[in-house]
């Protein structure tokens, strides 16, 4: 990696910021929105024996969090390769 490639690195950082923003939007949606703000409205629907809003607050947001980190790791590893900054 050459020292003059700062433009490339700025593009890498920008792409990283976009990926983070998308992931945090989902993070916010499942927990603060579905699990808290509209929880009572969602409770009108059932999945199995769970009212939907209750399920988001109890289980759904946690499961989504795990998946989110997984996709972030995957996308960033690809980004590292695309900009040729991946570590060994």
């Amino acid at each position: 990696m050459s020292i003059h490639a700062t433009k490339e690195l700025q593009a890498y950082w920008k792409e990283n910021l976009v990926i983070i923003a998308v992931h945090l939007a989902i993070w916010f949606f499942v927990s603060f929105f579905c699990g808290i703000m509209i929880v009572d409205q969602l409770d009108a629907y059932m999945i199995g024996g769970f009212p939907l809003g209750f399920w988001f607050a109890n289980q759904g947001s946690l499961v989504t969090f795990v998946i989110l980190i997984g996709t972030y790791v995957y996308m960033m590893n690809n980004l590292d390769k695309k900009y040729d900054v991946h570590e060994g």
Binding site: M1, I3, H4, A5, T6, L9, Y12, W13, N16, I20, H23, L24, W27, S31, F32, G35, I36, M37, V39, D40, D43, I47, G48, G49, F50, P51, F54, W55, A57, N58, Q59, S61, L62, V63, F65, V66, L68, I69, G70, Y72, V73, M76, N77, D80, V85, H86, E87, G88
Partner: protein
């Protein structure tokens, strides 16, 4: 074999394992002592982070707490896991790229100021001691309840063990004992839950079981044939309503408060030094990202099981105690009465135990039964009539949870003293050997102080746990975030922001918890935000002040901006061309 014998065997085995690991992984250098030579594989770091994170309270108290709170308890579940998403994306990889040993050191370097470093080290020590006090007490409590030892003796045994492996092994020893402790605690937590889920619903996965229908065996266990084929949550909602409580799956707290508490717990988690330093121990930036993922997976395994245990235990407990004659009470109830975790006062003199709303020992309520939240996890296997070895596991698991968290916190305290205070400020020319002696001595002293907190628990511990999260949220989180994501964030802004954040949160909590506890209710809170949720507001204030002050004061020096730039990319490139002119 009896429960007592099983508990001794399982605890003895697990303790021997910890001691063996500590001896095999003892630290030889300061790099070993503070950051395990940056050689921990991500999946193991994930397990160690999980054990570091899940404390005595998570293991023993959380499920019980949730069982009383119903849906409102979800803020613990979301709040104490959501922070890992922030850690994986906003902190972990960049702190790893920075590549040194402590959070105060990072903040001092980034804001080119020893004042920031000292402020950060004081916060780190305060937050860690607040937390560790509860852990040592937890060790004593588990020993006394399961093993017939006094609480003080239990604390001393726990102290001796932590002293041994924290001073000998430092981060390296702690990391690998935490891996073992994670395995012990998760096994101890899951096995009873799986058994009970099978018994009640036939579904072996507790996370699905508590949303399933009760089967024939389950209805028999609850001694109520009418419940067969109905959803467990519907049955519990029905029982709760009959007894005058709200439905289990609905909430009572104002939503704005739940929102702010959840946010405060999330950003507080992401700002806790003993979690942040775990990211220094992996080999590469990308390992920091994936180890946050592993950590959350391992944590979520327990945190998604907890609400299932809450539902199983509450249903079981009420069905086997409520409206039952005391003379026919199950044997576990009488056993646990001795520990004062459960109790009964026959207010109406009918010889029958009645559970209702309100305090059990006040004459003006109908409730006759005392239920301590801890009983839901501790006695759950007995209530469900599981074999003795399963009950014995709970003791070993609770100890693993408490000891692993205590060790991680003690390391933060030790590193703050030896690395930030002594080496960083008081005596920078200290040799590595000398620093290692300071590190071990500081860890030793910190263990003893933590033990004293365990033996003489200060009455204010429960109140100040909210403080630990609020403080981490209002001080560390904004400064570290801006330090990485805004090159122009400067020393003046950071100092002003931290000061405002800390003072605001401290004032709010001290007022409602100590000065005027009678006012600690939603009618007097600002905008209905409880002291537990105020860290969110403190963090927001910190951000605003940092930004505004930064606009009117000099930019950070070029080399600091270059340092920030270098944190953002993997690989060796550290100096952008602008620095060379």
């Amino acid at each position: 074999m009896s429960i007592l014998v099983w508990t001794w065997i399982l605890t003895g085995l697990s303790f021997s394992l910890y001691i063996y690991i500590a001896y095999a992984t003892r630290a030889k250098s300061t790099g070993d002592f503070y950051a395990a030579e940056q050689s921990v594989p991500p999946i193991l770091n994930g397990m160690a982070t999980g054990a570091d994170w899940m404390s005595a309270a998570s293991f023993i108290s959380m499920a019980g707490l949730i069982s009383f709170m119903g849906r409102d308890g979800s803020f613990y579940l979301m709040g104490w896991t959501g922070g890992y998403v922030l850690l994986a994306m906003l902190f972990g990889p960049y702190l790893r790229k920075y590549g040194k040993f402590t959070i105060p050191q990072f903040m001092g370097d980034r804001y080119y100021s020893n004042t920031v470093r000292v402020l950060a080290l004081i916060c780190a020590i305060f937050v860690s001691f607040t937390y560790v006090a509860g852990q040592m007490r937890g060790v004593g409590v588990v020993f006394s309840r399961f093993m017939g030892v006094s609480i003080n003796m239990g604390v001393i045994i726990g102290m001796a063990l932590v002293f041994f492996y924290a001073t000998l092994g430092g981060m390296k020893g702690i990391t690998y004992t935490q891996v073992a402790q994670y395995c012990v605690l998760i096994t101890a937590y899951l096995i009873p839950a799986i058994f009970i889920s099978m018994q009640l619903t036939g579904n072996p996965i507790p996370q699905l079981g508590y949303g399933s229908a009760i089967n024939a065996a389950g209805a028999e266990m609850l001694q109520d044939p009418a419940t067969q084929g109905k959803y467990l949550l519907d049955v519990l909602n029905g029982i709760q309503k009959d007894m005058g409580f709200g439905a289990y799956t609905s909430g009572a707290r104002p939503r704005i408060d739940v929102w702010f508490i959840t946010m405060s717990l999330m950003i507080g988690t992401a700002g806790l030094p003993h979690i942040l330093i775990r990211f220094f121990t992996v080999p590469k930036m990308r390992d920091a990202r994936s180890s946050a993922g592993w950590a959350l997976l391992f944590i979520a395994l327990l945190y998604t099981t907890a609400p299932a245990i809450a539902v199983f235990a509450r249903t079981n407990f009420i069905k086997s105690i409520h409206n039952v004659e005391y003379s026919k009470a199950p044997s576990w109830f009488k056993n646990w009465e001795k520990t004062k975790l459960v109790g009964w006062k026959d207010k109406n003199g009918d010889g029958i135990m009645q559970i209702a709303k309100g305090a059990w020992d006040k004459p003006d309520t109908k409730n006759e039964v005392k239920i301590d939240q801890d009983i839901m996890v501790l006695a759950n296997p007995e209530i469900a009539k599981l074999p003795n070895w399963v009950v014995g596991l709970i003791g070993a698991g609770g100890l693993a949870a408490a000891l692993s968290t205590a060790a991680g916190l003690l390391l933060v305290i030790s590193a703050a003293i030896s690395h930030d205070l002594m080496k960083g400020i008081v005596k920078p020319d200290m040799s590595e050997k000398e620093e290692l002696i300071w590190a071990r001595a500081a860890a030793g002293v910190a263990v003893c102080i933590a033990g004293l907190f365990g033996i003489y628990p200060p009455g204010f511990v429960a109140q100040v746990v909210a403080f630990a999260f609020g403080l981490a949220a209002a001080s560390f989180f904004p400064c570290i975030l801006m330090g990485i994501f805004n090159k122009k964030a400067n020393k003046e802004g950071a100092l002003a922001g931290m000061a405002v954040g800390i003072i605001f949160v401290a004032a709010y909590i001290i007022y409602f918890k100590f000065v005027n506890p009678a006012f600690n209710n939603k009618d007097h809170w600002w905008f209905g935000i409880s002291p537990e949720g105020i860290g969110t507001v403190g963090a927001a204030l910190n951000f605003i002040v940092m930004y505004v002050v930064g606009k009117f004061t000099p930019e950070p020096p070029q080399e600091i901006q270059d340092l920030v730039g270098s944190l953002r990319y993997p690989g060796k490139l550290v100096v952008p061309p602008s620095a060379g002119h």
